[in-house]
């Protein structure tokens, strides 16, 4: 299953809407590493897992546990696309 460019943008928008509750940076770029910047608290790692599972209907498993999948809006969107493509 491929993901259209509209839905990629939609994933990014929904992810940013979620992150804005935790990250005090309104002009968050798709490539900003919000873990490295210290912008987030310790709960966010697990909150992001619950968010992508609930929001995008995917299941995050052990092999997906890589901060690279969750560091930026771009990475999250790419991860969601990949998981959806795998079905």
């Amino acid at each position: 299953m491929s993901t259209s460019s509209e839905s990629v943008q939609d994933i990014k928008t929904r992810t940013k809407d979620f992150l804005f509750r935790f990250v005090r940076k309104r002009n968050l770029a798709d490539s900003d590493d919000f873990f490295a910047s210290g912008m987030v608290n310790s709960l966010l790692a697990m909150q992001l897992v619950l968010f992508v599972e609930k929001e995008f209907g995917i299941k995050v498993q052990s092999e997906d546990l890589d901060l690279k999948n969750f560091r930026t809006v771009e990475a999250i969107s790419g991860f969601v696309e990949k998981k959806r493509a795998l079905g």
Binding site: F20, M46, L48, K54, S62, L65, L67
Partner: protein, 383 residues
């Protein structure tokens, strides 16, 4: 409880009957002997309660978040030590379910569900408590295995557990491992004389170049705390929150009963306004804590990201009021309240432990306060 559907109400009645029949009558003796009898463990297993976090496909009895909370409530009402068994066993089971490999799930979950294997959560160390990211136990890679060296302390049910979820430090950072009790190099020393949770069979674990296969790693290297430990502790806080409400409810019920019988100054204690003041505060605290737990259960059922914070709030408040309510129960019972013939002193001692475990209440306060500031910034910048 008005919030329960028919199936949940039926389960709640079943849990209450179990605790009334098998746990409450023996809880003081368990506390005095500092052990959990095997027949109680068997009964928990036979009723399917040890499989409460494990789905049916692995032989478990998982239902919904609220039902699990109700089970914790009832065990907390009867014996906080047994509550801690359900808590740590559930944390290990849920961690394997969520982060385990197919092989780990197939190997361990059916045995954990049947209670043939008891799981324990080994994170705290003699020098490392709340800041678990600074875990000191080392895991050094050695071929296709790791050698674990160091100590873990205050591990609930370490004396009985056959499987430990151990947080260790690898080159990549904190990493979770599943370690079976019979691994060479692992030994356990019972811990006696604790203030509370005295029947929880706490132990200190010593790892002396304990060799485990690389396939024993749970989750990915370096992410043992941020994902595996964090999600386990989130469940642990949910259990403790509900158990604390159960403990507080029991203290309230004991106080209502005692103050209705006991006469002082020619009248029952219940007629004394200063006693009524205590009872009113206890009732209000219990209801408020239960409301927070119900909210947490609702969000957990929906797998909502906010469930983590709401669970933290529920754990913080419920354990805090449990101590307050148990303290007032002791006061209402007077000298009887601190004597061996009344359970109030046990509940008070256990309630204090609830404020410390699965993330101390000070940790919860900092997490909650930070979320409050984040929320303020979000609201300010959204308008």
């Amino acid at each position: 409880m008005r919030e329960l559907n028919q199936a949940q109400a039926a389960r709640y009645r079943e849990y209450r009957a179990f605790v009334n029949e098998l746990v409450t009558p023996r809880a003081d003796q368990m506390d005095a002997e500092q052990r959990t009898p095997e027949d109680i463990l068997e009964a928990l297993a036979n009723c399917g309660y040890l499989g409460g976090c494990i789905p049916a496909e692995y032989g478990g009895s998982a239902s919904d978040a609220l039902s699990y909370g109700l089970l914790c409530h009832e065990l907390g009402r009867g014996s906080a030590s047994l509550l801690s068994l359900l808590t740590v066993h559930g944390m290990v089971s849920a961690s394997i379910l969520k982060w385990g490999s197919d092989e780990q799930r197939a190997t361990y979950l059916p045995r954990l569900a049947r209670g043939e294997l008891i799981g324990a959560f080994a994170v705290s160390e003699p020098e490392v408590g709340s800041d678990a990211q600074l875990v000191g136990l080392r895991a050094v890679e050695h071929g296709n295995a790791f050698l674990l060296s160091g100590r873990k302390k205050w591990i609930s049910y370490a004396e009985l557990a056959g499987l430990f979820l151990v947080l260790a430090r690898t080159e990549a950072g904190p990493t979770a491992f599943l370690v079976e009790r019979n691994r060479p190099g692992l030994s356990c020393t019972p811990i006696r004389g604790m203030f509370g949770f005295r029947a929880a069979m706490l132990g200190e674990l010593k790892f002396d170049a304990c060799r485990v296969q690389s396939s024993s790693m749970l989750g990915r290297p370096g992410l043992g705390f941020s994902y595996v430990g964090s999600s386990a502790l989130d469940l642990g806080r949910f259990c403790i929150a509900w158990g604390a409400v159960g403990l507080a409810q029991e203290c309230l019920d004991l106080s209502l009963s005692y103050s209705s019988r006991r006469k002082q100054g020619g009248s029952e204690l219940a007629n004394h306004q200063l006693i009524q003041r205590l009872v009113a505060d206890m009732m209000t605290d219990v209801r408020a804590a239960r409301a927070l737990c119900l909210r947490a259960a609702e969000l957990r059922e929906e797998r909502d990201p906010d469930s983590i914070l709401e669970t933290s709030i529920a754990k913080y408040f419920s354990s805090k009021i449990a101590t307050r309510v148990a303290n007032d129960a002791v006061q209402i019972h007077g000298a009887n309240g601190v004597g061996p013939e009344f359970a109030t002193q046990r509940h008070f001692r256990d309630a204090r432990i609830l404020e410390i475990i699965e993330g101390s209440n000070e940790i919860q306060q900092t997490v909650i306060a930070k979320a409050g500031y984040q929320s303020l910034h979000f609201r300010e910048e959204s308008t």
